[in-house]
């Protein structure tokens, strides 16, 4: 965990220096689009916000000065599949955003939709030496968590202390200064594929940018689209993206579970393309303009010109009814939602006090999806759009930008993670001594 701790700490330092410079770029690498946002921070407001104002107060501290999106290339299922194309796409987005902002950015905070996130709940506890909780005790208890063996090739991206318990009292958010004997912590650990993040890192490096932070897109879209009550009482955010569907569960304003389903809107498009024998672009177009999941009698009479782009303009006058289109789309959407349902079941979402489910992401714009989702996921489903942040253009306020906006909020006001505390580094004193001993043994 030390290596990870160091890298994450370095990223935090870079983020801090980026905020001091006042400029940071947000990069949402999705399967269908890559969005880049340039945030300008007002350092005076930022420092005020750190002095103990609420999270909402810090929203005024930054402003979006450049936004650009480009069609994503070389990304599949929310992971980088063709590096060069991804790099070119990132370059396109970053350059356009820089042009709009009329400034250059060096630091970028990125999020990735796929890469098989896996959640772990870990717990740890320590005995308090001097009867009350000090800053160093927080670090100690976080270090005492027994990290599960998440296997090689995986890396933790989030490790957030969700809950502190002091003796028999649980549910503390900040136990510092309180009296007690035994401090225990529940931590949420989210790991993803190392390969995915390293590929992305390489792409970003090749664009002359530096990574100042990394987040899972399921988490950040939850930040932006769940309202405060939902985050507090328990709520799930389902981000219906192009290549992957992110699921995150929030309780007490912390993410307690995050996962992604490797299915998304692109599969719906390819289903339409296969089922109706049209090209992908036509399929995407009719999905966006005419798509739906709840068929009514009216839809039988609603005919859609396919105009299949076959080159045979005279004879290709195929038409389908909207109910046929719905018949193609609905099973796939149901499958995606069932995948999300499985994730929620695995998370034990049924046991949470509040069970609001928020659908966001580009896929949530399919008409009638909230009805379908409430059948599959439960009664309390709503469609979520991201929070408004300052300077965000109208074109970027839709649900497709929820992870982008969430990442901006995350950049401005990140939650405490494990690496924000100073872990007691036990090995550092003894290690050189051991090495010296070994050297002696080896040589004499």
């Amino acid at each position: 965990m030390t290596h990870l701790y160091e890298t994450q700490k370095a990223m935090r330092a870079r983020r801090r220096s980026a905020l001091q410079k006042g400029l940071v770029a947000i990069l949402d690498v999705g399967t269908s689009k890559i969005a880049c946002m340039i945030l300008q921070f007002d350092s005076s407001v930022q420092s005020e916000a750190q002095d103990g104002l609420t999270a909402m107060a810090s929203h005024g501290a930054f402003r979006v000065i450049g936004v650009a999106t480009t069609r994503s290339r070389g990304v599949k299922y929310g992971e980088v599949s063709t590096m060069e194309e991804t790099e070119r796409a990132i370059r396109t987005a970053v350059q356009a955003a820089q042009k709009m902002a009329n400034t250059r950015v060096d630091y970028v905070i990125a999020c990735l939709g796929g890469a098989e996130p896996r959640s772990y709940g870990v717990a740890g506890s320590v005995h308090l030496e001097n009867g009350s909780v000090m800053d160093c005790d927080i670090g100690r208890v976080l270090a005492s968590c027994d990290v599960p063996d998440y296997g090689p090739g995986r890396e933790a991206v989030h490790a957030m202390p969700v809950n502190f318990a002091l003796d028999h009292r649980s549910g503390l958010t900040d136990p510092r200064g309180q009296i007690g004997n035994r401090l225990s912590v529940d931590m949420h650990l989210l790991t993803i594929n190392t390969a995915a993040i390293e590929n992305l890192l390489k792409c970003i490096k090749r664009c002359d940018l530096e990574l100042a932070g990394f987040a899972s897109s399921a988490y950040v879209s939850g930040i932006s689209s769940l309202v405060e009550d939902e985050q507090e009482l328990g709520g799930a955010c389902i981000d219906l993206g192009g290549g992957a569907t992110g699921v995150s569960v929030f309780l007490k304003k912390h993410m307690i579970y995050g996962d992604s389903v490797r299915m998304g809107g692109d599969l719906v498009t390819s289903d339409i393309s296969l089922g109706l024998q049209v090209s992908l672009s036509v399929a995407e177009r009719i999905k966006s303009f005419h798509g739906g999941v709840m068929a009514t009698g009216m839809d039988d009479r609603d005919m859609i010109e396919l105009g299949g782009d076959t080159g045979d303009y005279d004879r290709d006058r195929r038409q389908i009814s909207r109910s046929e289109l719905i018949g193609v789309m609905r099973p796939r959407v149901e499958e995606i939602l069932e995948g999300a349902r499985e994730c929620l079941d695995a998370a034990g979402f049924d046991h949470l006090p509040g069970q609001r489910i928020v659908l966001t992401g580009g896929g949530s714009q399919i008409p009638g999806i909230e009805g379908l989702a409430s059948r599959i996921l439960g009664q309390q489903v709503r469609l979520g759009k991201p929070l408004r942040i300052q300077g965000l253009p109208q074109a970027a306020t839709g649900p497709a930008f929820s992870s982008c906006v969430g990442l901006a909020l995350y950049a401005a006001h990140p939650q405490d993670e494990c690496w924000d505390f100073d872990l007691p580094v036990a090995g550092i004193g003894s290690q050189p001594l051991k090495r010296a001993m070994r050297w002696f043994k080896d040589n004499w």
């Binding site: 060069e84 194309e85 070119r88 370059r91 820089q98 042009k99 009329n102 400034t103 664009c207």
Partner: protein, 290 residues
């Protein structure tokens, strides 16, 4: 390896880097202002370095200047001297050596004023330009004393400043004479003494500065009044009072010495002295014929 889609809007890496460089404030200001400014300076410097160009520029500047200076609006055609007698005016004209018409832009009035005031007979001068005429208003020094110093006769005004020379004492018999080294520096004291001289005025031959320290009043018949260094006028007034009461200097007295403040000391001539002794013997009952 997939070939790149020709419709891909992505900028090439070079273009991307250039764009980023362009958006860097330092480079931006350098390219926008630094390099053009440097180029302009370089070209200008190269052009101006040529001595021919420098000479041509200097020439054109002087020509332009001369053209403006020579305009009739600026020309001064004559000089009018006011408040001076003719000989002084001639001296002023000679000292100025101006050739009219002259441009008023080339005329340094302060220098002209200084030059006019350097003429000895001029006390102060005011110089104006009034519509193409150089107006010199002069207040002359008036000679009040004749000073003889080592054979040269000079005219002094009340402050002791030299007004001019005079060939013979006879030319200015109206002015009193002072003699001696350093006399000019105490001309005002000399004037005071002369003013206080009262009944001796017809007999006064002149004042003599003794040892650059004090004054002697020289009268005819080789009589002198020796005045002290301090309070010379008061001492003279005492002598005047003595003369009025006792007619001292009408007698055969050579010197009235006032240097001792307590009493006047009188030196008699030789004949007066023997006569005095004779008379005293008579008074003492001795034979006067002896």
């Amino acid at each position: 390896m997939s070939s790149i889609d020709p419709r891909d809007p992505a900028p090439s890496r070079i273009k991307y880097r250039m764009e980023r460089l362009w958006l860097t404030p330092v480079y931006r200001s350098l390219i926008r202002t630094g390099i053009p400014a440097a180029l302009v300076l370089l070209v200008l410097g190269g052009y101006l370095k040529d001595p021919d160009t420098q000479a041509r520029m200097a020439r054109s500047v002087t020509q332009a200047r001369a053209m403006i200076e020579d305009r009739p609006e600026f020309s001064v055609k004559l000089m009018r001297i006011q408040g001076a007698t003719d000989p002084v005016a001639t001296m002023v004209r000679e000292s100025l050596t101006l050739v009219f018409p002259v441009s008023s832009l080339r005329l340094d009035l302060a220098a002209v004023k200084e030059k006019v005031e350097q003429v000895e007979a001029v006390k102060t001068a005011d110089v104006f330009l009034r519509g193409g005429i150089l107006d010199v208003e002069i207040s002359e020094r008036l000679p009040v004393l004749v000073w003889r110093d080592q054979g040269a006769l000079e005219l002094l005004d009340g402050e002791g400043a030299r007004v001019g020379g005079v060939a013979h004492r006879d030319a200015r018999v109206d002015l009193p004479l002072i003699v001696g080294k350093g006399a000019d520096q105490h001309a005002s004291e000399a004037l005071e003494i002369i003013a206080a001289i009262g009944p001796f005025a017809p007999r006064l031959r002149g004042l003599q500065r003794i040892g650059e320290r004090r004054w002697d009043v020289v009268l005819d018949r080789h009589q002198r009044i020796l005045l002290p260094t301090e309070n010379s006028v008061r001492a003279l007034e005492r002598v005047v009072a003595l003369q009025r009461a006792r007619d001292v200097l009408s007698r055969d007295v050579l010197v009235v010495d006032m240097r001792d403040g307590r009493r006047p000391i009188i030196r008699l001539s030789q004949t007066a002295m023997t006569e005095l002794r004779r008379l005293r013997k008579i008074a003492d009952g001795e034979d006067a014929s002896l």
